[in-house]
């Protein structure tokens, strides 16, 4: 007999493996690796026959299975030292499967709760309710959604050039400005104080370049070998107006 396997039935290679173990009534703690490998590869082969793009993740587990199989085929080494018994090559995979199964079961419990909970209905949000001045309630997800939405709109409108800079640069820009607000001017090299990682150094440098480009800071070098000094051109927020360059 044959059973039909639909790829979409499985959430991934571990799920497929659990299915094969279950349908063959195999003890998960004592998996016949040769047999299960054969079945698993058979599934993959059929996916490929159908010209499917077999996800790399499925192949990773296939390689793991083959590796375990080959290890198990090797004759047990004459354990001369023989303190610890040879570890079962299947151990790691079994542990992964058990852990995955635990969460799969948990997800089924959650699914159950979901359908019960969906029998309850809430009152719809009242659009007429006035804007309150209580404590602010905004989630980061909302912020991210807002940003994606506005950026997508901006791209469509194509009125603004958006470079995929990372936030680190913006953060460094603000940090540099904040620093210059208290110590102005500052030696170029001092801007990198405390920047321990390579990416932080790069971000700081890119931030400085961006500030220079926008004219928010200037850099000066009195002689060719001399120290570069950076100073802030914008007005400090706290200071009196008109104090700036």
């Amino acid at each position: 007999m044959s059973y039909r396997v639909q790829l979409e039935m499985f959430e991934g290679p571990l799920d497929l493996l659990l299915y094969l173990i279950q349908v063959n009534e195999i003890d998960i703690y004592d998996i016949p690796i040769a047999k299960i490998t054969e079945e698993y590869l058979g599934c993959l082969a059929r996916m490929q026959e159908l010209d499917l793009e077999v996800a790399g993740e499925f192949l990773v587990i296939a390689a793991t299975l083959i590796h375990i199989k080959s290890k198990m085929l090797l004759p047990a080494e004459e354990s001369e030292g023989a303190e610890a018994p040879e570890e079962d090559p299947r151990k790691e995979l079994v542990e992964r499967l058990l852990e995955y199964r635990r969460f799969k079961e948990a997800s089924m419990t959650l699914e159950h709760l979901e359908s019960h909970q969906q029998l309850h209905f809430n009152r719809p949000a009242d659009p007429g309710s006035p804007v309150a001045d209580g404590p602010l309630e905004v989630s980061l997800s909302e912020l991210i959604r807002a940003f994606s939405a506005v950026m997508e709109r901006a791209m469509k409108a194509a009125v603004f050039e958006i470079t995929p800079e990372t936030i680190n640069v913006g953060e460094r820009m603000v940090a540099v400005l904040d620093r210059l607000a208290t110590e102005n001017p500052l030696p170029f090299i001092a801007l990198f104080d405390g920047a321990r990682t390579r990416s932080l150094l790069i971000a700081t440098f890119l931030g400085l370049l961006e500030l220079l480009r926008r004219g928010l800071v200037r850099a000066r070098q009195s002689d060719p070998d001399g120290e570069i000094t950076v100073y802030r051109t914008m007005e400090a927020a706290e200071g009196n107006d008109g104090r700036a360059a």
Binding site: S2, Y3, R4, V5, Q6, L7, E8, N24, K35, E38, G42, C43, R46, M47, L50, L52, E53, A55, F121, P124, S129, A132, G134, P135, L136, E137, V138, L140, E142, L143, I144, R145, A146, F147, S148, A149, V150, M151, A157, F160, P164, E165, T166, I167, N168, G170, E171, M173, V174, L177, R214, G215, L216, R232, M234, E235, A237, D241, A244, A245
Partner: protein, 199 residues
């Protein structure tokens, strides 16, 4: 669902009015409560209204233009107002977008924000400053010397960040932003021979 013993029609009426956004007409009630005539429903609503006038009830159904709706009793208005006054405030869509732009593009001026959003932003910036989510970093040395905005310490604290580098990066947002249809599995079927079992 028709086979199940029907719950009390009054209970159904209350549930429907509770979940409804707009007044519910008698016709609509009659559609959902198969087997109840409009006359019967009118009678049910009148009885229910009477019962809701009891002093330990907070809500009652009233007849308004176009149907029935649930409202809180007028004498409870002071408590409802006090309650609403302390309710958590949400940022408007405009405020949210502006805050997001400032978070990711700071230091940034108002004209720059408006160029991205495509609309004016005046009131919103005031709100955000009042809410202490953004701060003025200084002024840009160009014509008009526009104010440069950035996020505040309160902003970081609010979202639980130690510093701005903890904000999700644009790349991470791209991965999280909900606009691409998910679904990775393919729909094709595969036949697996079970003969390997027989060996």
């Amino acid at each position: 669902m028709a086979e199940l013993p029907d719950p009390n029609p009054l209970a159904i009426l209350e549930a429907l009015l509770f979940v409804s956004e707009a007044p519910v007409t008698l016709e609509r009630f009659a559609e959902v409560l198969e087997g109840c005539s409009k006359g019967e429903i009118t009678k049910l609503l009148a009885d229910w209204q009477e019962r809701c006038r009891q002093e330990d009830r907070g809500v009652l159904p009233i007849e308004v233009a176009g149907g029935y709706r649930l409202v809180t009793k007028p004498e409870l208005a002071p408590w409802v107002q006090r309650f609403r006054g302390t309710k958590a405030a949400k940022l408007s869509k405009a405020a949210m977008e502006t805050l997001a732009i400032i978070a990711y593009k700071q230091p940034i001026t108002k004209p720059e924000i408006e160029a991205i959003r495509g609309v004016m932003t005046d009131g919103v910036l005031k709100t955000l400053v009042e809410r202490d989510l953004i701060r003025i970093l200084g002024r840009k040395p160009e014509v008009g010397r526009p104010i440069l905005y950035g996020t505040s310490r309160a902003f970081l604290e609010y979202f639980g960040f130690k510093d701005l580098s903890e904000l999700p990066t644009l790349k991470e947002i791209e991965a999280l932003a909900p606009n691409v249809a998910e679904k990775e599995a393919s729909q094709s079927e595969v036949e697996v021979d079970d003969t390997s079992n027989a060996k």
